[in-house]
Each structure stands twice: as C-alpha cells, then as structure tokens.
C-alpha cells in the first residue's frame, strides 16, 4: 500500500514535471505549401496530444520555397526548428552547418537508416553522398512517374485505331519509344468531341521544372553527371552520345506531342492539363497521384500509373523528388525537434502518414504485403523509388540548376542550337561553377 501510493505520487510528480516542461515547448516546422503539408498538420495533432508541445507550421509556396528558406537558414534565423528542406540543399546545409548532424541521435535512439528505402537515405540524408553521415530523416518520398488515361486505353474504338496505325496493341508504354508512339497516336485525336493531345511534360523555365523533366528522361539514355572514377569530370558523361540522343528525344516529344502552348509547364500545369482531359499521358511527381484518384473527371479507376519507361538500351531510371526532415542547428528547442523526429520515425506513425497521403519512406510500411494493393498507385510508387537518381546536391546546386534550366529551355522550347551544343554549353557552365567553388 505504502509503496504503491509512493510510486503513484512519484509518477504524478514526474508526469507533472514533464508536463510542465513540455507545456512551455513550441516547435515550428517549415516546409513547402502543398497537399502533403496539410496532411502533416493533421498527423502532428497526435504528437501535440502526446507531448503537449504546440506545433507551429510555416509553409512557403514552391516557387519561393528555396529563396525564403535558404535566406532564413543563411542569416541564422530561428524561425524554424524543424525543416523539411529540398533534397538538393543537403550539401550546403551540411557544409555551412545549417542542419544538426543526426548520427549520434540515431545511434542513441536506435533509429537505423537501414529501416528506410535506400534511395531515400542517399537522396535525402547523406552528405557527402554514399557516406554514413546523416543530416535528415527521410520524410516524404517522391519520384517522377507517368499517369495515363486508362479509360481511353480500354476503349475498343481507340484500341482498334491504334492497332491499325501501329500494328501493335495499345498497352501502357514500357519504353520511351513506345511512349512517344502512344503520345503521337493521341496527339490531335478527337475524343468525345474534344481535341486531345499526347502528353504533358515538364517545360517550366523559372525554377527547376524543365531540368527535372529532361533529367528524368536523360538518365535512361545513359546520361551521367560525372565520371564515377573521377568526380566532376563531365566531358563524355554529360554530353555522351546517349545523353545527346536523350535530349533530342525530349525535344522531339515536346515538338510532336504536347498541347500547344505548354511551354512553361510544371507540376501544377501538368495537373490542370491532365484533370481537364487534354492529355493521354502526363509526367508528374508521385505526390500528385492521390489527387487524381478522387477527381471527378479522372478519378475512380480512369487513371493508370506508370513507372518511368526504359531507355533504348533497357536502362531504366527516374528523377527523385521528395525531402527529409532535419533539425535546424540554430533552433532554441533542439530537444523538442529531436523528439518530433523520434516520434515521426515510429512505424505506426509512418503507417498513418501513408494512409493520409504522405509518401512514407519506411521499409516496414512500403514493404508490407498489404502496401502494394493499398492504393492503385502504390506498386508504381514502390517500383519507381527503386530506380531513382537525383540532381547535384552540391552547395552550389542552385547555380548548376540555373545553368541547366537556361540551356534546356533554350534548346527544347525555344528551339535554339542542337542537343550537343546545349550539353557542351552545360559542361562549360558547370565547370565554371565548380571552378568558382574550388572543386576543379
């Protein structure tokens, strides 16, 4: 009796003490303003209930996300305790000490990076790449893939017309060549009284759109950022024959098969084009997929999902998107921020995250046998995540990106020069950046 009451009072005192300390605790999480962010707010209500921590959120729209947040990190601001920053920031964040290194914390809490999809660990957490130095926990997996109008593909009249034109059955494309053939077939076709077009692909000029789209195709054509043996040696890799062919392919796809006027398309424009029934195929990040399932025009089984098709030599890669969650080194509530990450890494939380539309990177979630059938796009997502590659994550990634934006847009959309000229020019631009950085 005595013991129990003592224990009870101790427990109450302890609970009260932790409660008191927790009550004063506030955390601000910074991310982009988009669909998954709204889901994260909902998910975090559990964390608030469990710990008494008050969560604040700062969501910045994509076009300004990098400017605003890098400005914040740069100037040593304390707005954000937790940052779900873009995968390309990792190099700069690590080298400039913006993020807290998480290795010790992971060791202490028994969080193993082996528990996460390998590509996401490399893509979102490691710097330097392929070394066990972790700066974030994979939070939101994302990858470029394709959606297609399953309802159109299944229509006998369309199937017959396709067979007549190409001599083969209309199937979801598995190679880039097939993709183009299908897109050409749909281009300008009349479906239910409307002229439809082949495909929607990324062409945006301002931020990163066209680079994401071109790279998504180029990888499978043999493009490499540099010599695997000799870092930053780009001649013969960036402008290899395969890479040139890949860029020419992208331009030919743009010339033959997109809706007129889609010269500045990124995620949002792609969604609009697809949902309004203009295109048969659409290139877009996986995060857009849950939205299509519930759309009155293209939802309810009318949409199929495709892993990025293979290149001419059977190579098959896809452009990585997505982000990891990091602790801002300057935060005045590092403990609270770490507690959030610890909570977020739990399997049941990750499971719920997936069910709310958050693309979990935890293997226990995505490798669960029930996962593949949990959503129509689940298997495609999983297969896509296995073949990802990512853009440079160097501290100077933004300069590298600006160069590729200008070169690609100038060639693909504005039609200046040739693919070879564009890629040679890109090497020159990138070389200059690396020289400025002192890496070459």
């Amino acid at each position: 009796m005595k013991w129990t009451s003592l224990a009870a009072s101790a427990a109450i005192a302890l609970a009260w003490a932790t409660q008191a300390s927790a009550q004063g605790s506030e955390l601000t999480l910074c991310w982009a303003a988009w669909d998954p962010a709204n889901a994260l707010v909902e998910l975090s209500k559990d964390f608030e209930a469990q710990t008494g921590t008050k969560m604040n959120f700062e969501f910045v729209p994509w076009p300004n996300f990098a400017d605003r947040m890098l400005n914040e990190l740069n100037s040593g601001g304390q707005l954000c305790d937790l940052m779900i920053g873009d995968s390309q920031w990792i190099g700069g964040a690590a080298e400039n000490g913006w993020y807290l290194k998480l290795n010790d914390f992971f060791d202490k809490e028994g969080i193993s990076m082996d528990a996460f999809v390998p590509a996401t660990v490399t893509g979102y957490s490691e710097w330097p790449k392929n070394t066990p130095n972790y700066w974030s926990l994979p939070a939101f997996g994302d990858v470029v893939g394709w959606t297609y109008r399953k309802d159109w593909f299944e229509r006998p009249d369309i199937q017959a017309a396709f067979k007549e034109k190409t001599g083969r059955d209309l199937t979801p494309p598995a190679t880039m060549a097939e993709l183009k053939e299908v897109a050409e077939f749909f281009q300008g076709r009349d479906i239910d009284g409307k002229t439809v077009y082949g495909a929607s692909i990324y062409t945006e000029r301002g931020s990163e759109g066209i680079t994401m789209g071109v790279m998504d195709v180029l990888y499978s054509f043999g493009f490499k950022y540099d010599n695997p043996e000799k870092p930053y040696e780009m001649e013969g890799f960036v402008n290899s024959e395969g890479a040139v062919a890949g860029l020419e392919f992208y331009k030919s796809l743009y010339d033959c098969c997109v809706a007129p006027g889609t010269s500045n398309t990124y995620m949002g424009e792609g969604i609009d084009a697809y949902k309004s029934g203009q295109v048969a195929l659409q290139m877009n990040f996986a995060f857009t997929w849950p939205g299509f399932e519930v759309d009155p025009n293209v939802g309810g089984g009318k949409t199929g999902y495709l892993v990025n098709p293979a290149g001419p030599n059977g190579e098959r890669f896809a452009q990585l998107g997505g982000q990891g969650i990091s602790v801002v080194a300057n935060s005045d509530n590092v403990d609270g921020a770490l507690a959030y990450i610890k909570w977020f890494a739990q399997q049941d939380v990750q499971q719920k995250w997936w069910s709310m539309g958050g693309f979990s990177c935890l293997r226990a979630v995505v490798e669960d046998p029930a996962f593949a059938t949990s959503q129509p796009y689940a298997q495609t997502f999983l297969d896509s995540m296995a073949i990802v590659k990512d853009f440079w994550a160097e501290p100077s990634y933004a300069s590298l990106l600006q160069a590729s934006q200008a070169r690609f847009h100038d060639y693909v959309v504005a039609g200046n020069g040739t693919a070879k000229v564009a890629l040679d020019g890109l090497i020159a631009d990138w070389t200059e950046v690396f020289e400025d950085e002192g890496k070459l």
Binding site: T28, L79, K275, D295, G357
Partner: protein, 313 residues
Amino acid sequence: MSAYSVTEPSKTSKWAAALLVTLYTVITLLPLVWIISTSFKTGPDSISYPPKVFFDPTVEGYVNLFTTRTRPAVSELEALPPPEGLMEEIARRQGTIITGPSRFGERFMNSVIIGFGSTALSIILGTLAAYAFSRFKVPLKDDLLFFILSTRMMPPIAVAIPIYLMYRELGLSDTHLGMILLYTAVNISLAVWLLKGFIDEIPREYEEAALIDGYTRFQAFRKVVLPQAATGIASTAIFCLIFAWNEYAFAVLLTSGNAQTAPPFIPTIIGVGGQDWPAVAAGATLFLLPVMIFTILLRKHLLRGITFGAVRK
C-alpha cells in the same frame, strides 16, 4: 454661367466619346469578370477544356479559401456523421473534411494593417515634406527632390539582402512595423512628388493672410493648407495604398508567419492536388474589395483632386 460655351463639346462628340470609352471599359473588365466568375466555379469547371462561360455557381472557392481540409479515405468519409453546416457540406461534396481555418484571414488582416498603416504614414510624412519643399526656399531643392525620387529607382532586389540582414539585427524582420516603414520608404517619393504639385497650386496668399491674422506657421499649415490640399491628399493616398496593398517582392522575402500579407499567399493556394483556381480567384476577388471600396469612397476626391488644377485661378 452662359448656356453656350465654346469649350463645351458638341452632342455628337460626346456620344462618340461615351461609346468608345464604354467599349474600352468592357474590354478591360473582361479579365476581371473572368477572375470573379472563376471564383464561383467548381474546381473541374474552372479548368474545363474548352473554357466554360456558363456554369452552375457555387461558393466552393470561398469555402476552400477560408479553410484547410484533408481528404480521408472514401470508407472513412462514408462512416462520418452527416455534415453540420453549409461549409462542411460543401467540403464533403469535394470528398474532403474541414480541419480548421486557413490563414487567409490573418494574411488579409496583415494586409489591412500594413497597407493602411503605411499609407497613413506616407501621407503624413509626404505632406510635411511636400509643404516644406513648396513653401520654403530649400537650397538644392531640385537635387533633394530628385534624390527622393531616385530612391524609387532601386530594384527591390538590390537592397533586399542588406535590408534583410539589417531588419534581423533590429528585430524588425517579419513585423508589421518593419513592413510599414519599408513600404513608407518606397511610397514617400511618389507622395512627396504628387503632393508638392497639389500644394504648389494652393495660393500662398491664403496662408500669408492667416499669418497676418496672427496664426503661427504651423496653425496656418493645419487650418489653411491641409483642408485645401485634402483632395490631393486623397488621390495620393489611393496611389500609395495600391502599391502597399499589392507589393509582393519584399513581402515574400521579408515576412513569414507573423506579418505576411496576402499577395504572396493568394497565388499559391493549393487545393487537393494542384492549384485551387476557384480559391485563388476568390482570394483575388476579396482582396480587391477593400481598395475598390476605398477608391469608390474617395472617388469624388480622386476626380476633384485631378481637376484641382482647373480651379487654380
């Protein structure tokens, strides 16, 4: 006034003018009408291909503008009790449930505080400076005036980094005061230049008479000049408000959770998968209202302010 004036335009020319101006008005209002009509469309209607001129109006856009929503699984949604209230019902129709208010209200209030605050400050400082430039022989007056004007020539990006660092040191970053001061600094050149023009037109004799009557210079300014300049002040205020209300570049770089205004917020309203055009249009429509009302209220002043010169002597 005589019944016939040589300067009075003929009836035909009036008709022709009215016709042409009406035609221009119709054309220029088309995009605006399109924005407003989009705000009453459903998501699918807003991006319908080809575009829809006629549609069933809905307030979905407005509901989405003011709420955040999530999209539960269909089975979960069906298991929910029937919706309470109109807002919830409209959200359910889109397959979503309302989880809380959006931040549009806050952003809007920030715009009101910062927009009207900086307009008031620009007008106060601008009137004082314009009066001094108009009435006193300030040496290098033209140079000083040009200096004031030149501050408006700087691209905002040119000074954004130093201002960002400076504001952080001073604790003005992401505060209402900081933004009010900044917008005032941008607007004051316009205010001084416009107001000086208006004050120049007020006959000096009025004040001098007041001074002789025993008013102090300050009293004369307050009781004689200010009422005379009211129309000019009103039209200048409209221009200042339009800038401060709509400014984007500084707002996006210098503000976040606390003092962010609506312009960086509106173009980025994200719905369930993709940009929520009806909500964006609803935000744009609501955001236009205060300036529009302000202008309509001050319309007589605006027009009289413009015609001020006509009555000068």
